[in-house]
């Protein structure tokens, strides 16, 4: 965990309005990075104080040999907008690695990933890790329309990539969570990341369709963060084991442990 100044080496537009931002990062950070972890990016020049707080972004990918890290940034607002406006060659002020990780159980062989929007980012990193371990991966991704999906070329070939769009312009016509029941028998574990409403329907779909506690579901939750290191207690998630920080104890939690 450290602060570093990366240099942006590449920008690639994805998912309609988002960007893959690639920048240099220290080798030890790149080697340590695991799916689910995130970095906090300063969305401003150091001497300008608005917007004030760093913005968390999941690690989308790392290339330790090239010394590069990639994040997926959707410019929702002022911070994201500033970041995607940076040019190649600009500095980017990064703090990381932060947070816990998705945890693939030793005996799991079939992994289901469920992503919505920029929630695609940490799951893609996880899919790559799983493929490297020769596990079977099905990656369900939902978006408003075809243009807002992640291009198939971004997904490792070994992964079964299934998409859903709300307007039916690609793949299944409807919500990505509608597809989940089909895979609950098959999957040993489920991993999910997406907007709040996606979690809600995922939860009801899983509770209605799975057998007992199997498969377990790990979710990466989003909270506004200030420090990212467990110091401010601003980013809490209420769990069955008490208040947890989403920046250190999370962002990945067992769905069944969270007090929704």
């Amino acid at each position: 965990m450290r602060e570093f100044q990366g240099i942006i080496t590449a920008k690639h537009p994805v998912m309609g309005d988002s960007w893959l931002m690639t920048f240099t990062a220290p080798t030890e950070v790149l080697h340590a990075a695991r799916a689910g972890q995130f970095v906090n990016v300063l969305p401003r020049e150091r001497a300008v104080y608005d917007p004030l707080l760093r913005r968390p972004f999941s690690v989308y990918g790392v290339a330790p040999d090239e010394g590069l890290m990639t994040i997926l940034v959707r410019p929702y607002g002022r911070g994201g907008g500033w970041i995607v406006d940076r040019n190649i060659g600009s500095e980017i002020d990064v703090m990381g690695l932060l947070g816990n990780r998705f945890d693939i159980a030793p005996r799991s062989t079939h992994l289901l990933m469920v992503g919505g929007g920029v929630g695609a980012a940490p799951l893609l990193m996880l899919a790559r890790e799983a493929v490297a371990r020769k596990l079977s991966v099905t990656y369900l991704l939902g978006a408003a329309n075809a243009g807002a999906l992640l291009e198939a070329s971004e997904i490792p070939g070994e992964v079964e990539y299934v998409v859903a769009t709300e307007d039916g312009s690609a793949g299944y016509h409807g919500f990505v969570t509608d597809l989940v029941p089909d895979y609950l028998q098959w999957a040993d574990q489920v991993f999910a990341c997406g907007p709040g409403p996606m979690f809600e329907s995922l939860r009801s779909v899983v509770l209605a369709n799975r057998m007992g506690k199997r498969p377990s579901v790990q979710v990466s939750v989003e909270r506004t963060m200030a420090c990212g290191v467990g110091a401010c207690l601003g980013c809490m998630v209420e769990t069955k084991r008490g208040m947890k920080t989403s920046c250190v104890d999370g962002p990945v939690f067992d769905m069944d442990m969270v007090q929704w």
């Binding site: 602060e3 104080y49 004030l52 707080l53 703090m95 506004t224 601003g234 208040m243």
Partner: protein, 327 residues
Amino acid sequence: MVTVEKQQYMADLTVDLAPSNPRELVLRNPVIPASGCFGYGLEYSPMIDVQRLGAFVCKGITPKVRSGNPMPRITETPSGMLNAIGLQNPGIDGFIRKYPPTWEHWRVPAIVNISAESVEDYAMMARKLDDVAGIAGIEVNISCPNIEAGGFCFGWDARMSETVTQAVRKATTLPVIVKLSPGALDIMEIASAVEGAGADAVSLINTLVGMTIDPRTRRSKIANLTGGLSGPAVKPVAVRMVYQVASVVKIPVVGMGGISGVQDALEFFMAGASAVQVGTAVFSTPSMLTRLIDELGMWLDSNGCTSLNGIVGAANPAFGTRGESTF
């Protein structure tokens, strides 16, 4: 992580925040992370050399364990943030078991921030902390706006501030810093009262009470309704209050509120602060804390000052005739 400091400057940055207390509170430099923004000193240890700091103040401790306020607890505002953490902490007993044993082996002095809803509880906590190894001083938070105490906080009333200070003073021989509230009508009156009641130093400012509404949900962005405003946005208010307080008290003043770099810290020193605390800015740039020490030392060197003392109060005429108010 106790590393050997490589000092990049000549100037003497030492400061004693409790010069009239036999137990004294000597800091090797005047840079202190503020309460609530540095956890218990452990959280940032992987990132910065905590032992280099002048001191640190831990998260506010209360008589009993508190799970804090419901979420959301923080939100961003223009050049600032609101927080309503609600003093989540393990309570004084849990705290004493958990942290001081580690701090005992640290070189950096640990200051414990305490909050309570009655004079007796303040005194009780001070008593319990008095002979705990690993604790260098107490910061008495008489100003936390998130605690429900009839909506009125100790720090808004000179008599109440005095009473709390006296009670804490009686309960401990540790250095006592009283942390003032910017919500008071006349901050100088409170500071003088607290000085008279035996405080070794005062620190200020705590957060301003603020609120921000999400037009979409038509509700406050903070579950607690209001939150404490901190960060660069409040700096002008903080500098003004430090200037005022430093004009009327003789005890050391610890300044804070929006400090984000050496230029900001210099403003507080020149207004009359003997040390500074850094809160919100730690979140964005933890490395700023140690860089601040170096940059301050180097600034003094290149401005012909052999010690920090050379600039304390430099913009405050009261420092010619210390004790007389010029405000």
